[in-house]
């Protein structure tokens, strides 16, 4: 395998790993935040509920941002 071909393959591998794990991590935090916010609201702890809701929303926005950034990168490189 040539150096050029190996470089493209390595780029594909690390891009996939970084993007895939980032989306999984951030979206899990979003689900965690939303569910814990709901639990806290039921437990009548509004301040904690608001904190978890904020965490969930930020993580959700970050998930969307990663997905959009990934697509923009693919379009830009092509």
């Amino acid at each position: 395998m040539s150096i050029f071909a190996a470089a493209a393959l390595i780029k594909m591998i690390y891009s996939s790993i970084i993007a895939g794990l980032s989306v999984a991590l951030v979206f899990s935090i979003a689900v965690f935040g939303v569910i814990r916010s709901s639990d806290m609201r039921r437990a009548r702890r509004p301040a904690a509920s608001a904190r978890y809701a904020t965490l969930g929303m930020l993580a959700l926005l970050a998930s969307a941002a990663i997905a959009i950034a990934g697509l923009v990168l693919v379009i830009h490189r092509s």
Partner: protein, 368 residues
Amino acid sequence: MSSGDVILVIVVLTAVAFDFTNGFHDTANVVATSISTRAIGPRQAVALASLLNFVGAFISLKVATTIGKGFVDTGAVTTTVVFAALVGAIAWNLITWSYGLPSSSSHALIGGLVGSVIAAQGITAVNGQGLVDKLIVPAVVSPLVAFVVAGASILIIYRIIGRLRPGAVGRGFRLGQIVSGGLLALSHGTNDAQKTMGVITLALIANGNIPAAGFHVPVWVVFVSASAIALGTFTGGWRIIKTVGTRIISMDPAQGFAAQTAGAVVILAASSVGYPLSTTHVISGGITGAGAAKSVSAVRWGVAGDIVRAWILTLPAAACMAAIVYGITSLFGHGALGPVVVAGILLLAAAALVARRIHPAIASPATS
């Protein structure tokens, strides 16, 4: 209209038919996990996948360039060679479809191209280094990357949401799956539709419509390829959906999300560097990774083994079929008669196969 133009028209129609069967065959890869976890209904999943396949086809042209210039000597390609490659690939797709095996349409196409070029010009017209660098190594590595990404993702996900209410977690990840499934459909359109674009462009170069030195994909080729794959996806392949979605592993929504996300990121990353990957390989790697990370025994390794055997067979089988098709076509000379006859036979064979699959009782009467 010259004999070359007639063959070109047949090639374009055959390429569109291949693109349709590609979408039809690969619908399972895109929608199976969303359907099996009930994230979205089958009809909605197929409609969404179809739309996003269409959009995805417009994102990139790097894979089309690899198909057009990366594997065979462009000067050795004639319209008849491209025709034989397509017929070989379609025949293999139909055979694996009839047995419910999700083999790779992409590898069938490239195998077909290599087989017909060898039959026409000999082995020296094949770019062996290109095949290794841009097809075989990525074909082996990409499902493994999807396996690792999906496996690591599901471990991260379970670590974070492990103690939460399962019902609420399931609802959250079902919503996530609509987006991850959409990304997978988009990435599928990006990678797979380009293979047809590459082949049609090769035929246009062979017929002298585009100069070989200035390889570019015409806009109408992009539009036709996008439409064909979207229509094929919409028509769907229910038998293969069953194999990929439920026979490899029973999944929860978090696993489905991890598998789809892993598949989408690997295919998009590959498209950006011009690798013509098999979406079948990648998503199956993702599904197996998501399952194995939770429980190695949950994966039905026997079914996964059947799929791997179909993958290994695809390149040589499609190459042999394309070489045979080229030989048969050549019996009728170098004009348009050969492709016309073979296209007619292919149409009849495909109609018979589809009729047998749809009405098995008519084709093989009950013995009791």
